[in-house]
Amino acid sequence: MAAVRAYFNNIWIALTTVAVGMKITFKHLFVPAVTLQYPDVKLKLPERARNRLYVNIDDCIGCDQCSMVCPVDCIIIETIKSTPDQDLGTTSTGHKKRLHVPVFDIDIAKCCYCGLCVYPCPTECIVMTDVYEFSEFDRNRLIYSFSIMTPQDIELAKEKLKKAEEEAAAKKAAATAAAAKAVQPSGAQALKPASPEPGTPEQPGNS
């Protein structure tokens, strides 16, 4: 008898639950859509959304901290020391710029959007923007170069550095030779950076 009751009870439950379910779905048929028509309407991103990286190269001092902290090594920075006669100016945060930055590449295809590069930057020049539509057909186009130095600039800066180094070396050699001649200890002074080179007319345009 219990089995019979269970049988009919089972059928009854099946019918009523189906009815309940169908009532719910029918109600939802008339609920306005919760989705957005994406390319036409966009969701407002949270204030601190992490998307495409942007580097304000004017403020970059080439400290390489962002590159070092990057867990996926997607930031590549090369620097060239400036010679003492060059004035590279200061950043908007007041830091003195001492290095040329000929290469500042970010492979955004590798980027994992962790945002770790943003925190160590002393001048706050690398930031995450809210741009997220930057798909490309060619993967190479996802490597962003932020440096604004032209090949000539780079060449010039390198030559200058080389010249300065050679002069410094020559000076050092002269100093050590003089020190060897004279017994008085002036080696400490000779080791100091070379004094401003006479006649450095043009500054590499890296402002």
Binding site: I11, V18, M22, T25, F26, H28, F30, A33, V34, Q37
Partner: protein
């Protein structure tokens, strides 16, 4: 027509071809509409919008889908049995389309007004089972063969409740010819078989519970016959990829798809003709006539198709044992009781 008949045998062949090609025009149009409706209803039930970018509210999407299917490569896997693989979609569609010949679309249009009507439909749809088995086996793929086996087992078992439910309607109307069955229900909504038919009041009142139960059971069984959710085990995409048509692509896949949608309409049409008054107007002689008949018939069928879609996006899939339990231990015994009750009432 006269001029064509004078042409002799070719004229009669031409007339036969045109007459029998009318449903395929309808099936194609209907498939376009249903394809669109299915996606839209699914989306709105889930609080989405579905296609919005092809035409106004995505109305051109079905055309785009069909264009895509037309230009797709027709692939046949190297391990497949090529002959049977190619034949299967045609067999499936043949079974479905053959059944359309006995559907009374209107008082003036029925493919072939044969006496056997609904019996013929049940018999010819069994070709579909063989076609599915053929496709599944020829694909030489585990998913396909499992899907085909499940499909055949399911369709064969659910043929019994379907046939019994049809039998009850036939007992009340006294004819297998769907045109006669429809005419029997003329005169308004209260004369439909689902509400007891045009019988004396006491008989009618006694019949109503039985006919209502039969109607519901026929609807459930027809869902299983066409492999729709919650009985979509043969195509269970979470278990079997696509079931028997996993390996199919391009036009052959489109053929299976078309047959599936045509089948949805077919079972609705049988249910409508037997229980919901076919092409008769629900308001008696108001708004009746051959053209209105077509409108009422297709309207009622589309209503049932909507119900099928609605159920699809409501209920989860049944397990195999639950499927068999439903057929053999619930639907069939209930129908036996109904047959007994209806017979008793009709004799009294």
């Amino acid at each position: 027509m006269e001029a064509l008949e004078n042409l002799g045998v070719w004229g009669s062949i031409l007339i036969a071809v045109v007459w029998s090609a009318l449903p395929i025009v309808f099936i194609l149009l209907y498939a376009l509409v249903t394809l669109y409706a299915e996606m839209k209803i699914a989306a709105h039930i889930q609080d989405r919008l579905a296609y919005m970018r092809t035409g106004w509210h995505g109305t051109l999407q079905p055309f785009a889908d069909i264009l895509k299917l037309l230009q797709k490569e027709d692939t046949i896997s190297s391990a497949a049995d090529r002959k049977l693989f190619r034949l299967a979609p045609y067999v499936v569609f043949m079974g479905t389309y053959g059944a359309f010949s006995a559907i009374p679309f209107s008082s003036i249009y029925i493919g072939s007004n044969i006496d056997l009507g609904v019996f013929f439909i049940v018999a010819v749809s069994s070709l579909v089972v063989v076609g599915i088995l053929m496709g599944g086996w020829a694909s030489n793929n585990k998913w396909s063969i499992f899907g085909a086996m499940r499909s055949a087992a399911q369709m064969v078992s659910y043929e019994i409740p379907t046939a019994l439910a049809i039998l009850i309607a036939v007992m009340i109307t006294g004819s297998l010819n769907l045109q006669d069955v429809t005419k029997f229900q003329e005169g308004g909504i209260h004369n439909w078989v689902v509400f007891g038919g045009p019988l004396p009041l006491t008989q009618k009142l006694l019949l109503i519970p039985f006919t209502l139960v039969t109607f519901i059971i026929l609807f459930i069984a027809s869902l299983a016959e066409v492999n729709r959710t919650p009985f979509d085990l043969p195509e269970a995409e979470s278990e079997l990829v696509q079931g028997f048509n996993t390996e199919y692509s391009g036009m052959r896949f489109a053929m299976f798809y078309l047959a599936e949608y045509a089948n949805m309409f077919l079972v609705s049409a049988v249910t409508v003709a037997l229980f919901l008054g076919g092409w008769t107007s629900p308001f008696g002689s108001f708004l009746s006539g051959p053209v209105w008949g077509l409108f009422w018939f297709i309207g009622k069928c589309l209503l049932l198709v909507f119900l099928q879609i609605w159920i699809r996006w409501t209920l989860p899939r049944l397990r195999v044992d639950q499927l068999m339990y439903t057929s053999w231990k619930v639907l069939t015994p209930f129908l036996f009781v109904c047959i007994f009750g209806v017979g008793l009432i009709l004799v009294l």
